[in-house]
Symmetry: C2
Subunit: 456 residues, 2 copies
């Protein structure tokens, strides 16, 4: 088996995303995230490197668990401050032709009608290169920014997300028929009103009349990414997701999630191949192993272990600063990121700090020459079954530059990386090798045939 | 008096904005509104023409009054379909340096926290070239897209808008102190947490903890545009607006609104010059008067009077198709656009149809050579006291091209139009000739000094 792998650049509109503290590195441009130039350069670079997409994470609150408040997150720039991820996409789309853009948006805080129009607009402007990373939100701090007095409970969040998606599908797939827009100049007929439908959605959480404001875009529904890995999260993903960004911290865990989602997707009638799986990947590559080691040493000098603990606090709800090194941690709060729970249950505080202190604890970390990195990437893909990777940055744009300059040619030699983009293909066509629209087996497709009524 | 006038291009992310029906004109690119290229070309053109800003209108529902439903609006493309206005701005910002962007967003349907971050993000990406056209929303159809069973009543909408702005000001002006972001690499200190504050807003409509997610942007609060002209709307504008887009249909009405808002602004301690006034302006200019007349004749052939009646129906709540030509119209529904009410009360249906059938009924319409157009523009500015105009399009980009090619040089010769942009100035600096930030007399400024607390 020698599957061609897919790569996304992993980004966030913030000074410190995943590998924390490195904004202080003299070769890093991360602190320029508020400048358009930073994003234009990143997009051009990834397209030159034939990446699939730029994957934009997001949170709408501040991590406020470590040391009992948000001061450490703010001081260290740990995903704070941050800016809206949608708004960097149109500028990047203007300087690229093929690169996709996956944008994170949570279903918990803002109404589905506005979000559906935003994604339709992006899908138009990018000519079908947009994906939605569906998250349900887990920060109590975020909920309080949107007037919710306490975080919606975990399972309720998924119920709400289900209905949010149902509304979105009705708007994207069911409101405007394929031939609703006619643009007939002689008849002065832009659209055929008999083919534009209200959705008249009445549910537990939402009431939405429609019709959708946007005319049909190339993909209609954006490519659907999802990241949840709890039981409920997997069921949700197996029903809706076209691609999953695995929160797995071990190869075994990745295998388990992939197998379980594939089985569930098949049970749902979508087929075992309906979902693509991406793992996070940390790469430090050099001309030689020794060169890569030198880069690693420099990165370790700037890396900020406390930053990781701040992030872990936000994700898990556990304040490691309040516990002794030999204490065992205990997950109480439901609704935080489940992969943290699976990976770190019944571990001592000391072990977790060690984990974040040493990147080698992460099996999805590799340092070395292009050959060594490519070997490990192939191995990870073959042992876990992932279809691709979200490449995490240490230096922006250094990490992407190194990967594109050194690893991509090596993977291309091995037949593991594309050598060109397909002409005019949408992100969905590239991801699945099929059509621009969601397949008929996807639950959104029923809304194509179940139009809600005619316009009054 | 020979005031240098300011000009915005008036746009909307839709096939037919104000001058209806003209998307069928063979020289019009309006139907390309879903393409980035359309917006990039428009932005480059307006910057070449030294315009102040592109002003983007928006509605989040469909006009559904004329003929008792939304079919005519959909068929004729009357502001339907439409796409999100925010998302075309970053792409246009990437190909311009000076042009401003005014984006319409309604305070009635989506939460203030997300909107505040969107505007902060745009203000960063544009380096301080963004304005918010604050509207309160008036379409019952829009309310039903956001789960509101009936339109929030007119005065409630303004109460809600007041609180929406209060939350926004707290986030923009009060949450991050000026020197909160330090980016001290040696100390690993991106921000000083003692200078980043929760806003802890508890009001009638909103509960928002904060802190704001975005770091301080060049203007903080975007330039505030407003368009309401009811009594309540004027009071709101006199309190908040830095620029008003007048809905006036006569010169006398423009004078009245301007005088009234100036007086109110002065009463509010903001000074009579705190607000800039813009009127809509329709121009058909040619090399000669005869050439302009030929253009007009062609435009009239494609112009769609029914489209104007559809738009009027949505704005006024009155279905002219259901009334006889000699009937008087009667405004019942509060909460529709008040200028329609003022202009058309106690008029016969026939008179209104005539009004829309003949562009010469509008005093802010002028056709002729550059000299004639410039004469009229000067006259309108001097008699009404407006500071500038939102130039409405017939043809996109033909109207802007003609204006920039013919009228701008004429106005420049007369000292009525800038001959260059100021280097690096924000939209607010250009509009008011003062600082990048809101002045101290603006109600937002109190939140700079009334921080809500320290981060826990």
């Amino acid at each position: 088996m020698s599957k061609v792998l897919q790569f996304n650049g992993f980004e966030m509109n913030t000074p410190s995303h995943i590998n924390h503290g490195l904004w202080v590195h003299p070769g890093n441009r991360r602190h320029e995230y508020t400048d358009l130039g930073y994003w234009l350069d990143t997009a051009r670079l990834l397209e030159r490197g034939l990446f699939d997409a730029l994957f934009l994470a997001d949170v709408v609150g501040t991590y406020h668990v470590y040391e009992g408040g948000r001061a450490p997150a703010i001081e260290r720039g740990i995903q704070s401050p941050n800016n809206d991820p949608f708004l960097v996409v149109p500028a990047m789309a203007a300087v690229t032709e093929h690169l996709g853009f996956a944008v994170t948006f949570t279903t918990t805080y803002e109404p589905p009608f506005g979000n559906a129009r935003r994604f339709s607009t992006l899908d138009h402007l990018t000519k079908g290169r947009v994906a939605w990373n569906i998250v349900t939100g887990y920060l109590p701090d975020a909920a309080r920014n949107y007037g919710l007095s306490e975080q919606v409970r975990h399972d309720d969040r998924y119920d709400l997300a289900e209905e949010f998606l149902e509304v979105s599908y009705k708007l994207w797939e069911g409101s405007w028929e394929d031939d609703a827009v006619v643009r007939d100049r002689a008849l002065r007929r832009y659209s055929d009103p008999a083919k534009v439908h209200e959705i008249s959605h009445r549910g537990k959480y939402f009431s939405v009349d429609g019709p959708h404001l946007s005319e049909p875009s190339p993909q209609r529904t954006p490519v659907l990414y999802q990241a949840g890995s709890s039981d409920r999260g997997r069921a949700f993903a197996a029903r809706h997701a076209e691609a999953i960004f695995l929160g797995a911290r071990t190869e075994e865990e990745a295998r388990t999630i992939i197998r379980s989602v594939r089985d569930l997707a098949e049970e749902n009638g979508r087929g075992a191949d309906a979902v693509r799986f991406f793992a996070g990947l940390n790469v430090i590559v050099g001309e030689t192993d020794a060169d890569a080691r030198r880069k690693l040493e420099q990165i370790l000098r700037y890396r900020d272990t406390i930053g990781y603990l701040v992030h872990f606090g936000g994700s898990s709800g556990i304040d490691l600063a309040a516990l002794g090194a030999e204490e065992y941690i205990e997950f109480k709060a439901r609704g935080h990121i489940e992969s943290a729970e699976r990976s770190f249950s019944d571990r001592r505080v000391r072990e977790i700090v060690d984990h974040f202190d040493d990147p080698f604890h992460d099996p999805f970390f590799v340092v070395g020459s292009a050959g060594r990195v490519a070997d490990r990437i192939e191995e990870l893909a073959d042992t876990t079954g992932v279809d691709g990777f979200n490449l995490v940055q240490y230096l922006s744009p250094g990490t992407f530059e190194d990967f594109i300059g050194l690893v991509v040619p090596e993977l291309q030699r091995r037949g593991r990386y594309r050598t060109r983009y397909g002409a005019g293909e949408t992100l969905r066509e590239r991801l699945h090798g099929a059509g621009a629209r969601l397949p008929e087996a996807h639950p959104a497709a029923v809304h194509r045939h179940a139009v809600a009524g005619v316009p009054r």
